[in-house]
């Protein structure tokens, strides 16, 4: 079955209605400004497991939602 994301306004809706928003997560130990910029621009945690994400419900209420997902299951 296709992934459904639970929207607090619209209920569970298929992933096609949503746009994923990558949240930059440069690690704290990167302190040098250029390194942090490169990390913010390109690098990703790409978590294998439970993860808090931002999704825009483009085909519904058109609001950003914070959604927790286990990427090994969904």
């Amino acid at each position: 079955m296709v992934l459904r994301l639970a929207c607090p306004h619209c209920g569970p809706r298929p992933v096609e209605e949503w746009t994923y928003g990558e949240v930059p997560d440069p690690p704290d130990h990167l302190t040098e400004a250029d390194e942090r910029d490169v990390d913010r621009g390109f690098m990703m945690g790409n978590t294998e497991g439970v993860k808090v994400e931002r999704w825009f419900h483009a085909g519904g209420c058109r609001r950003w939602q914070t959604i927790t997902r286990d990427t090994t299951l969904d």
Partner: protein, 405 residues
């Protein structure tokens, strides 16, 4: 030739996991195996272990739609993939194993002016850097693939031309992995299945080997060749990557009674198709939009992929879906591979193979082996180093994917 190569390949499994190897390769997919094969055959480096947590080829290398092509969009990629196309066409002779390599030609169709412009540009770049892609007219499309409905969708997807790459081929994916594994093992490489890497051994910042579920193994060089799982392994080395893992699905139909010769793709319609040696029609499309490690297949994918397919190739209507499956792909932000040094001593990666890395298996392994043997980045893959993100020279390649992998 006997269809049952499984009974012929001499895979000499080594039971004893040594506590130390010169080179440890994590991941027994095409890229890990090809790196081991080329270390052994080109450089005489055989104190090598390939550690695979499942069985060899159980990752994307045994799940892909096996398209081999060099019709990429940027010079560096055309050169690299053309090298791989050439190595693939010699692989049967070299290994003595029938990998069912079949040069079919690939037809990349367009349906209007922007597409025409793209395919003309692609042909020019390809020819300049050694790939035989040509621009073709609608009449020529009809000759290469008579099954195409030139007025598809009642004209909505009228075929206005396309590019044709005679060099494009397919090969049986697990046979590629087995042939490389056999060649490596014959020369002394150890391949350990059901051996999961659970951590990395370190001396300060340097990676000195791996922790496995069968104990620690030290290594002069540790190579990550773990497909979609690369971020998890690299994080243990403290390496961050411009990679997001996305599922990619595909499916086959039952047997089509006639021969369907070329590989046909339309990026605008969002699907591609070829015929397997068993006569099944093999179809694919784009990635699932969510980052995910799930192998779940969806009905939505089937319908999204089938609708344009039956529109462009009406004969597909009469076939039935037989099997559907999913792989999890290491998508790089610029759609190009990432090979070589990571900034952490003793730890190399071959990744960013995304939805396009089956074709890169021979050249990727050849070049990684040369890098390991000489401790220098070969010129062919220098543009694909991880450094490029820091140096602001991305290799964004619209030719990588979109739809056709």
């Amino acid at each position: 030739m006997n269809e049952f190569i499984e009974a012929q390949v001499a895979l000499g499994w080594e039971q004893n996991l040594r506590s130390s190897y010169d080179v440890v390769i994590v991941g027994g997919g095409g890229h890990g195996m090809s790196t081991a094969y080329h270390l052994a055959t080109r450089h005489g480096i055989t104190d090598v272990a390939v550690l695979e947590r499942g069985y060899i080829g159980s990752g994307n290398s045994g799940r892909n739609t096996t398209i081999i092509r060099a019709n990429y969009g940027i010079p560096e990629a055309v050169r690299f993939y053309q090298r791989s196309v050439d190595l693939y066409s010699r692989l049967e002779e070299e290994t003595g194993r029938w990998i069912m390599h079949d040069r079919k030609g690939l037809l990349w169709l367009v349906h209007g002016t922007p597409g025409t412009r793209n395919e003309r540009a692609r042909s020019i770049v390809n020819q300049a850097f050694g790939a035989d892609t040509v621009y073709v007219t609608p009449e020529e499309v009809g000759e290469i693939c008579p099954e195409v409905d030139m007025n598809a969708g009642g004209g909505e997807y009228r075929v206005t031309g396309g590019s044709y790459s005679p060099h494009a081929a397919t090969a049986r994916h697990d046979r590629v992995v087995w042939a490389l594994a056999e060649g490596a093992m014959k020369r002394g490489v150890h391949v350990h299945q059901r051996t999961a890497v659970t951590g990395l051994l370190k001396d300060g910042d340097r990676v000195t080997g791996v922790m496995t579920d069968r104990g620690p193994v030290t290594a002069g060089v540790t190579v990550s060749a773990v497909g979609g799982h690369v971020s998890t392994l690299a994080a243990m080395a403290g390496v961050r990557l411009p990679i997001r893992t996305h599922p990619l699905q595909a499916f086959v139909t039952n047997h089509y009674a006639r021969t369907f010769r070329p590989i046909v793709a339309s990026a605008e319609m969002g699907f591609y198709v070829s015929q397997t040696p068993r006569g099944e029609m093999l179809l694919g499309a784009g990635i699932d939009s969510q980052p995910s490690y799930s192998y779940r297949s969806s009905y939505e994918f089937l319908s999204h992929c089938s609708l344009p397919a039956v529109t462009l190739l009406p004969f597909l209507r009469d076939l039935t879906v037989l099997r559907q499956w999913t792989g999890v792909c290491d998508m790089s932000v610029d759609m190009s591979p990432i090979m070589g040094y990571t900034g952490v001593d003793g730890f190399l990666v071959t990744t960013g193979w995304g939805t396009w890395g089956f074709k890169g298996i021979p050249a990727g392994g050849e070049q990684m082996a040369e890098l390991i043997a000489t401790d220098r980045t070969p010129e062919l893959i220098a543009p694909f180093s991880l450094n490029r993100f820091k140096e602001d020279r991305l290799m964004f390649d619209p030719g990588s994917t979109g739809t056709t992998h």
